[in-house]
Symmetry: C2
Subunit: 359 residues, 2 copies
DNA sequence: CTGAAAGCGCTTACAG
DNA sequence: CTGAAAGCGCTTACAG
């Protein structure tokens, strides 16, 4: 129980190896200018003595500063989801700022690929120590990412994955899986011969692979193991910018539902689920099972009223937090990091939501 | 975007105040031996210059070591739940050990209140800097906790809360709420006139307030808002030590269930839910809806087979992690900490479980 | 290729 | 009550 443990320090290694601590330091950090024989001897002693550098002393002495940069969508009113990752970035910064870390936070309007591209170029020019980006636009990302690779700047992808880009990590959810979770929740709440609608509420620019993968996961669930003959699945695509379309499409598909029919379900593949909840409520159809994504305030409201049955959360705040910590562990702590950092697919109800908001 | 920011250091404050940095240090740490006038002047300058001490330099210079102690149940085979908090403690230790922190981990057999008491006394005698305990036995806790209070040793409660014990924080779940979540899940999956069983699988020593609170929350859900007339609720208490009781009680209550009747549900108020799952499977009653607690391996297995529909997780690993971090933030970082740190009530299904295990 | 010395920002005896 | 000096473990020029 007693703590008589005394750390082995660089001077112990130096003494035992018959060199100065400067030389040991050069070996540890591969700074060259060491005779190969000396180098090997020192490495041997380090292993033997089980030497581990004191990270505190190290950061204090090397007045090195780390400038991280982040690029994510603006968390404005039309796009509240993106407020949370920014908070997570801040929280991480707070925990590690005494290691000399700063973060330049950059933002772009969610639909503006030119702004995205421009900001990313600006970041590349500023040559930060590490970068976190939400690669919403895959084409622009693929164009500019080589610059970071050439400069040896590690990049972490947040929320969206793009394959083969040499990013050191992806922090986010597995979208197909979250679709399966949604399917499970609807299937569990409905009986045989149910009618289920998949509603994609998308904007003009489209092309969000998230949404496609979520729908795929959802359909896979039924296709793989749950008697697809026993239910009707129908996909509806709606453009957010056209509220009249939303109105007419919903009326057409769900208008005739008899009161008391609890055997219909709706899966909205993104955070726009509150639009559907609103319509259901207006038409006294709140009993239809409804599952969607993300804890936007509007969604929370309908969840608490019971119009939305379940929300799937992506832990957006945690995404921001983990992205920065990944850079920190990679760059400062020299730790091995996981390439895929999948966050839990949290199932949120009226009853447990309190524990998922405000951190 | 540029980082021209230079930190104000203790010598800057000292110079501006016309004193030595030793004096500033005495003021900062309330070590006394400073004239009241000097003290006030220094404090004023500190505020003006917005001085914040460099925690790295501070811990390096003060060769202070912090010895934390923990006391939780053994995570043996009969009690797998408790493996996870220990892992969380370890993980936290890994992240902060370079601040000179060590943890003496103590354990006791889950049902042994004497062992608990003895270990807690041992810890008190060793006078650690801070303590994390799972106060499973409230009487013994209440007896010994004053010793820690007298010594000014901060105590964090993990998993179980006991009121009015001057613990600086509680890290765990709100048990009543988790009962409500279970109720929601069963209610959502069943139709009117359902029959629901609450099964408490307890050991001879009993008295676990968790279980009572969970049942209460479960019943409250139906009592408060969900037409209690439309369902039958029945509580069954079973002693784990008597498998024949389990067998006969279950046969008596559920034996006659017709195949295909999807309108029965069971809520098991703790991690022993796998016993019920096993019985259901043996009797071809897997279609009965089943909800329980904790990701024990046996439970995971039945969840994956679909016999258990939902498991509620207490984030046991996170409980360990957060407890240590709370001591760290309180003692080293001098941060304000939250007295109640409620962890999310995670809803786990076959589809999302992968993201909740192995951290 | 190597070592001696100064310094990172703070804390700790010690002397007065 | 206060200051000057040494030291925490590592890194960084500099001299050779």
């Amino acid at each position: 129980m007693e703590n008589n443990f005394t750390r082995v320090k660089i001077s112990d290694v130096a003494q035992k190896a018959g060199v100065s601590s400067g030389t040991v330091d050069r070996v540890i950090h591969n700074r060259g200018e060491v005779a190969i024989k000396t180098r090997e001897k020192v490495l041997k002693i380090i292993r033997e003595m089980n030497y581990e550098p004191d990270i505190l002393a190290s950061t204090l002495a090397s007045k090195k500063n780390y400038r991280f940069a982040s690029l994510i969508p603006e968390g404005d009113e039309a796009n509240l989801f993106w407020k949370s990752p920014a908070e997570g970035l801040e929280q991480a910064l707070n925990e590690i700022k005494h290691f000399g870390i700063t973060i330049d936070q950059h933002f772009f309007p969610y639909f503006d690929r030119n702004a995205f591209r421009k900001e990313l170029l600006t970041i590349a020019e500023s040559k930060p120590s590490g970068v976190v980006i939400a690669p919403v636009f895959s084409e622009q990302t693929k164009e500019i990412l080589p610059k970071f690779n050439q400069l040896g700047i590690p990049v972490v992808f947040l929320n969206t994955q793009i394959e083969n880009q040499n990013n050191i990590a992806f922090v986010g959810q597995e979208p197909g899986r979250s679709g399966m979770v949604a399917a499970k929740l609807l299937n569990y709440g409905l009986v045989q011969n149910a009618e289920i609608f998949i509603i994609n509420i998308i904007s003009q620019l489209g092309g969000n692979s998230h949404i496609l993968n979520r729908e795929k996961g959802f359909r896979d669930y039924f296709a793989l193991s749950h008697n697809p003959s026993h239910l009707k699945l129908k996909t509806i695509n709606i453009n957010v910018q056209e509220p009249e379309t939303l109105e007419s499409v919903l009326t057409q598909n769900l208008g005739g539902t008899e009161s008391g029919c609890r055997n219909k379900g709706i899966f909205v593949t993104n955070s726009k689920v509150f639009h559907i909840a609103q319509w259901l409520e207006k038409n006294n159809l709140s009993f239809i099972k409804l599952v969607g994504y993300d804890l936007l305030e509007q969604n929370q409201e309908y969840l608490k009223k019971g119009t939305i049955d379940f929300l799937i959360s992506q832990q957006p705040r945690e995404q921001g937090y983990k992205s920065i910590m990944t850079l920190f562990n990679h760059l400062l702590m020299k730790k091995q990091i996981n390439k895929d950092q999948f966050l839990p697919i949290d199932i949120i109800t009226k009853e447990n939501i309190d524990f998922y908001i405000n951190h």
